[in-house]
Amino acid sequence: MVESSRMASRGRAVVGESRHLLFSVAPGATWIVVFLVLPSLYLMAVAFMTNGPYGLPQMPLTLNSFEQLAGFGFLGWSPGNLYTLLRSLWQTFLATVLVVIVAYPIAYYITTCRIKWRAIMLLLVVVPSWTNQVIRTFGWMNLLAPGTPLSDLAQWLGFIPPNMGLYPSNFAVTLGLVYNFLPFMVLPLYAAFEKLDTAQVQAAQDLYASPLRAFWHAVFPQTLPGLLAGTVLVAIPAFGMYVIPELLGGGKGMMLGNLVANQFAGGSNWPLGAAGAILMLIATFIGLFAMRRIGKRLGGGEEVVI
């Protein structure tokens, strides 16, 4: 009797737990499935469809869009799309390296300052990224346009021909990317520097390590998890960037994001755009997976998971 009532109450508890799961988790999970997972799957399906009139997808299924992405069109092969792809990879690589070079000393410097200043300094680094990306990029357009002091200086130094501006150019895109992503690298690096075990550095110095070797063996490995997290936060969105190359790059500064967007904004070719999006997704997941693997090997796996 007692046994059976206990069984019953446990049964009720299990039902209650399941119902609880249904009420708490289900609305959010369903929302994301319906409004993001389904649309993404639909987009992937579009990549395998035929481009109909007005750029809308049609049956039958083909691999046509991927051939177009590789540059095969009506008029034979052209390298335009491949250049765009290579440019995206190069810009992402360059911007990430430059962001690391700037963020590393900044993050370190903040940790050497008084504690009460640190929060304010971090805030100062982050605040510009609170303004809208379009406005920030517009600010750079103002700075780099023809006739501005920076453009005049570049002309005087002979970097650009007379009466030209520093934008539109690939240089402007790189600059815009570095500007945009700097805070994403400073924050994780700062977190890594703050936890730095200075005893290791002390030990290295006691053993007469040169400053460079002390840095390389005692400091750098400890900041690697932060560096990896920052790289994920910078490189993945940089590869899919749309606004900055569109405003600062011009026709010769186009990146994959613009190639994809143009197929939808102009309504010209959805399947081609979707194929580009799949490429971007693959790059994203390879990037995340690689970072996780490296992070786990370093033993700092937890921190690298963003």
Binding site: L36, L38, L124, L247
Partner: protein, 265 residues
Amino acid sequence: MKKRTLQRGLSAFWWLTLIFLYLPLAVVVFFSFNAANSAARFTGFSLRWYERLLGNEQIISAFWNSMVLAIVSAVLALVIGCLLGYGMYRHRHRKLGWLIVLIYLPIVLPDIVFGISEMAFFVSIHRYTGLLQPGLLTMIISHVTFQIPFVALIVYSRLVGLDPTLFEAAKDLYATPFKRAWHFLLPTIKPALISAFFLSFTLSIDDFVISFFTSGPESATLPIYIWGAIKKGVTPEINAIAALMIGAVAIAALMSLLFNRQGQR
């Protein structure tokens, strides 16, 4: 001696970086007061661009669209995300790996892929059913989708930080789950809810790409309006409206600084 030169060098580098970070914003604000319609030469102080803003109906309507979008989406995301975060906490001992993947998906997906997925989906649904015409509604749906994970993760981390025995005590104190939620849970996670709401709001105001691809002809937000003006090359009032938005961010930054100070005390 050596250390001091290093520190000096770092300090100089810090100030240079600050100039780099604030120069583009300063230029926008500076030229918003320019009498001439030029971003290269400053001819004199004037407020005429700000006056023109008030008369520009498109900008006013874009401002209200931005506000409605940010507030409605942040409220919806707060409710759904809070439930989700609580559910994640309550059932954290179960195997919910799929849920984690689902929650991180909107965060890791590149904006452009997110935006065009939604656009292709909404346009196709609209073509076959007549529902979900691109406009404010589709923008709200998309914004809620990228806000939910942030709210859920903030609420979840707040709950994990609590002493588990508190939940036992609350169980003893309050009879029904609703009373428990109202008198114990919600007041306890209130700071997390407030910061989640402001984060959602900011994410919405900050977004351009996803809004751009899910918007309709009548639902342009401020960033979309600015984008259109830049693309068309008609930019006289853009400096002024951009300067106002930068001012709003500066106020938000000051407020967060004050909150931080209070938190430390």
